[in-house]
């Protein structure tokens, strides 16, 4: 894959992460919900975080 495209995709992921980890999306999950015994917010944050890293790895390694 051409190098500049990789950089642009990473910037896009950066912007996506900025949105996902901030108000107002964060507030949607900041509730007293429990999923499998684990608070919803914790699940959301860690899953999103992991997914973001996975996408970054995908962009770089592919």
């Amino acid at each position: 894959m051409p190098e500049p495209i990789k950089g642009q995709r990473l910037v896009a992921l950066f912007l996506l992460g900025c949105v996902l980890f901030n108000y107002p999306l964060l507030s949607l999950f900041s509730q007293n919900g429990i999923l499998g015994g684990i608070p919803l917010l914790y699940i959301y944050i860690f899953i999103t975080w992991l997914a973001l890293i996975g996408l970054m790895a995908l962009v770089i390694e592919r």
């Binding site: 990789k6 950066f14 608070p39 917010l41």
Partner: protein, 950 residues
């Protein structure tokens, strides 16, 4: 059982292991079989996770739930931008042998010593709380462990300095840092051994933390679900499940993400491992996702450990900052406890080693050396070998920095949780962001802008974060906090300018970065860059557009001797190493040092970079200036060079314009030549035609006479007369052609004397009087009594007059012919008009009658009345004497031919003419021709002899 001495021994053994790893790493690097890999690089970046992460995260989670997490989300997001930003910084640093963040900023803004010093001061003051955090972490964990298996919270209150474990920890860490980090002198060289040890420590701390987490989650509880379900039963704990329950709000959350994004780039130790220690730029891409993954892994168990601690130690006898250690302790897990302790130790030592190495480089290169070099009393510049001194400075700097950390720890210990201390440092290094990010993307950033921004940001930081911590620890009066310094409420550190409702860190970050950015941009836009700043700016911003180190702009000129350079390098790098490096340089370029005595710009540049690796860009600049004969060009000289260039390009432009003009002239000349060629062809064909007509008639009549010998005498005489006339015409024509060509080519002879024009006119009229009589033409004369004498060729002027008169006679009205001759003396000229009452000449014909062989009327149908050469010849003659010949006529109302001759002859022709005039033979030849020259046959018989002309 964990005895104190066992803990001590294990700790020593662990540190010994780290040394072994470092030693091995250095050996491998020396043998060119580097250990470095993307994985080592990513793990070394994890030096970001210190005791703050290891112990402090849990402490912060205990009070704010997810509030510990932005510190790791920010770097994750930032990692995505590394592709552009960090790669650029790495490339720039490698090209310029940058050894620290202070070096980077100083180098970018014109290798400014002041700026480097300021950055160093900010970094040292800003990082000291952070180092104290590590001391506190290690000291607390050690104290706790010392009492094992009892679980006794560390005593609060005043402890004697000598009985304070913190001091010993500080000294231990300092020793460690000295042994690890400052073995080489060249700070730009990679400390691969140190990086390997740091990477190993990163593995240990991750494993230790995960092990503790697994034990707590699955050993003490029945997995995540069980743990959180139990916590949910407690309303206090349940509040931690959401962001709303934790205070700070989304603004604070975002502020921390932003802050940590800047910290991951600009913390001195992160700059050290990510940029200075980067062996290969290709390691970066993998680290972009491996490093965030590490952060994720080390944070998974923070919340479980937090809740477990809060559930199991309900009465807050245990500091949440120590849960990671105290939980295994409380449940008798000897090995795990020890492992966790080593993890914490790893986190702290890794941070302190890298941080102090980075800071000591900055302190020595950007603070101490510049001062020492300028301190003339020391005569430092004259000492032969300074490499030993450099090492001493760096090592002392490490000890001083760690001890300052300890001092801060003593002053503020127990007041703040670990994370809050660290965030103060984050906010300090965030001040570097505008100068660095602006510096690598905006060429307009100037030294004064960076100085203004950094100073302003640092002052606000000190006011809003450092001051409160000192006040609360009792070293400054508490009145600073409330009602504010000097009683001014708008200066309250936590509510600057009345901005209330913000937590301290985002509040400080906002104000400090605001004034910083404003100062940077404002200072840059208002000030001007020096030449060096300008060249450095383009070097930094356009780093990807340049191919390697060689193509840097060289605004340097002058000379330095190789010997001087060698001595200079020797003083700072050690003589042996300097020789090695110069030999290497010579080998690469096939140079022989015995032949090269003067260094060129490239060598000076090379030496400066070598020196920069050792003592920093700013100091290297100063040192090079001491051996290089001529300094960097100043603005005036650059403008001078620019002017020369502009002048040169103007000359070029002018030359090219001249060339264009010359080309145009040549083209015109060529066109003229072609035109002349065409005219010549026309002329030849016309002459041939004109010659053939009389020849044909001569031949025709001759044949008749030859074929008819019995022709009657009357006819014979008639034919012979025609032959004779045609013959005369032919002769006249040829004479005129010859005459014209002589005049045109400038070979004609001129006989010049003073003449009286009235006399010449009367002679011409006498010559033509018979024609007037024959044709019954009325002659009107208008001559003055006398005219001033003219200098001209009498015969030639007469030739012109005869031509005009014969033409007038020829073309005037046949029934009532009239010809007028008029002579006027004007201001500078004498004008002669010859008028007739003939049919006149149309305007179109007025132009062409002066051309050769052009006559009014159709020569094909009418019998030609002349040769068509009279007027061209006349015009040439008049022009030769500086006069003009022209015609005025209206169709049907006659024509007037006029010519003028100047009273004062034009300069230049008289001498040459007089010369020719002495040659009598020529006059005779010319006079022979003269008689043949006139248009009408009837004139031809009136031969003019030379004798008549005198």
């Amino acid at each position: 059982m964990l005895q104190g001495w066992i803990i001590f021994l294990i700790s020593l053994a662990y540190i010994g292991l780290l040394f072994a790893i470092a030693y091995y790493g250095d050996k491998r690097a020396d043998a060119k079989r580097s250990l470095s890999s993307p994985y080592i690089y990513a793990l070394s970046l994890a030096v970001y996770c210190t005791d703050w992460t290891f112990y402090g995260s849990v402490g912060r989670a205990a009070s704010t739930g997810l509030g510990f997490l932005p510190i790791y989300l920010g770097p994750t997001l930032m990692a995505a931008l590394w592709w552009f930003v960090l790669r650029k910084i790495i490339r720039i640093s490698k090209a310029n042998r940058i050894v620290s963040i202070a070096d980077f900023i100083a180098s970018r803004y014109g290798k400014s010593t002041t700026l480097g010093g300021l950055v160093t001061v900010i970094a040292v003051i800003g990082i000291i709380p952070y180092i104290s955090l590590q001391l506190e972490g290690v000291s607390t964990s050690f104290t706790l462990l010392w009492r094992y298996p009892e679980l006794v919270p560390p005593q609060s209150g005043v402890i004697g300095v000598l009985s304070d474990t913190g001091l010993y920890v500080a000294l231990l860490l300092a020793t460690f840092a000295i042994l690890f980090g400052v073995r080489h002198l060249d700070a730009a060289e990679h400390h691969e051994g140190m990086v390997a040890a740091v990477a190993f420590e990163s593995v240990i701390k991750l494993l230790a933390f995960v092990a503790a987490g697994l034990f707590v989650t699955f050993g003490l509880f029945d997995g995540f679900g069980d743990l959180f379900t139990q916590a949910a039963a407690n309303p206090d704990l349940k509040a931690l499940f959401t962001l709303e329950g934790t205070g700070g709000g989304y603004g604070g959350w975002f502020g921390l993400i932003f802050l940590s994004m800047l910290a991951i780039m600009f913390l001195p130790r992160q700059f050290q491992v990510a940029v200075v220690e980067n062996v290969n730029e290709q390691h970066l891409p993998k680290a972009i996702w491996l490093f965030p993954l590490y952060l994720l892994a080390i944070n998974i168990f923070v919340l479980p450990i937090t809740f477990a601690g809060l559930l199991l130690f309900p009465h807050s006898t245990v500091d949440p900052d120590t849960f990671v250690l105290t939980l295994p302790m409380a449940y008798g897990q000897d090995i795990l406890t020890m492992f966790v302790f080593l993890g914490g130790l790893s986190a702290a030592t890794g941070m302190v080693i890298v941080e102090t190495v980075a800071l000591s480089t900055m302190v020595s290169n950007d603070l101490v050396i510049p001062v020492l070099l300028r301190w003339e009393g020391l005569r430092l510049a004259e000492r032969q070998d300074l490499s030993g001194l450099l090492l001493i400075i760096r090592r002392s700097a490490i000890v001083v920095i760690v001890l300052l950390g300890y001092l801060y720890f003593r002053l503020t210990s127990d007041l703040y949780p670990l994370v809050s201390i660290g965030l103060v440092s984050f906010a300090a290094v965030a001040q570097f962001a505008p100068a660095i990010l602006g510096g690598i993307y905006w060429k307009g950033g100037t030294r004064s802008g960076a100085l203004t921004g950094l100073s302003a940001g640092f002052l606000v930081w000190a006011h809003t974060l450092l001051l409160p911590s000192l006040a609360e620890s009792g070293w400054l009066p508490l009145s600073i906090m409330e009602p504010g310094p000097f009683g001014l409420s708008w200066l309250k550190p936590y509510e600057l300018f009345g901005l209330s409702g913000w937590s301290p860190i985002p509040h400080a970050l906002f104000w400090s970065l605001l004034v910083n950015v404003l100062g940077y941009i404002g200072g840059s836009l208002l000030g001007r860059q020096s030449v060096l700043e300008h060249s450095q700016a383009s070097l930094f911003v356009d780093v990807f557009k340049r191919s390697g180190e060689g193509s840097q702009i060289n605004l340097w000129r002058g000379s330095a001797s190789v010997t001087d350079l060698r001595m200079l390098l020797g003083r700072f790098l050690g003589p042996g190493r300097a020789d090695d490096l110069l030999s290497e340089y010579a080998r690469q370029r096939s140079l022989n040092w015995t032949e090269v005595t003067n260094a060129n710009a490239e060598l000076v540049n090379y030496a400066e970079k070598l020196l920069a690796g050792s003592i920093g860009a700013a100091s290297a600049r100063v040192m090079m200036a001491s051996v290089v004969k001529e300094e960097l060009l100043n603005m005036g000289e650059v403008m001078g060079m620019l002017d020369e260039t502009i002048a040169y390009s103007r000359q070029l432009e002018q030359k090219s314009q001249e060339l264009e003009a010359a080309t145009a002239e040549l083209r015109a000349a060529n066109e003229r030549l072609q035109e002349l060629d065409r005219l010549k062809d026309d002329f030849i064909s016309t002459v041939s035609h004109e010659l053939r007509t009389p020849l044909t008639s001569i031949r025709a009549f001759s044949e008749i006479l030859f074929d008819n010998p019995d022709l009657d005498a009357n006819r014979r005489s008639q034919f012979l007369s025609i032959i004779l006339k045609e013959n005369e015409r032919l002769t006249r024509l040829i004479n005129q052609v010859l005459d014209l060509s002589k005049i045109e080519s400038g070979n004609a002879e001129w006989y010049v004397s003073e003449i009286d024009l009235i006399e010449v006119i009367n002679e011409s009229l006498q010559t033509t009087s018979q024609l007037f009589t024959e044709n019954e033409i009325d002659l009107q004369l208008d001559l003055p009594d006398s005219v001033p004498p003219l200098v001209a060729d009498r015969d030639r002027i007469k030739q012109v007059l005869l031509n005009l008169l014969s033409n007038a006679i020829k073309f005037c009205d046949h029934s009532a012919g009239w010809v007028g001759v008029r002579l006027q003396v004007k201001e500078e000229v004498i004008q002669v008009d010859v008028s007739d009452n003939g049919p006149g000449i149309s305007e179109a014909n007025q132009r062409i009658i002066f051309d050769k062989f052009r006559q009014v009327g159709d020569t094909m149908t009418e019998k030609p009345q002349g040769t068509g050469l009279g007027l061209p010849i006349s015009r040439h003659i008049i022009a030769h004497f500086g006069g003009e010949l022209w015609v005025t006529s209206t169709l049907g109302r006659g024509a007037t031919f006029s010519f003028t001759l100047p009273l004062e002859p034009p300069l230049g022709w008289q001498n040459g003419a007089a010369e020719i005039g002495q040659s009598d033979t020529n006059i005779v030849v010319r006079s022979e021709l003269l008689g043949q020259e006139f248009g009408d046959q009837r004139v031809a018989s009136h031969r003019t002899q030379t004798g008549e002309q005198n």
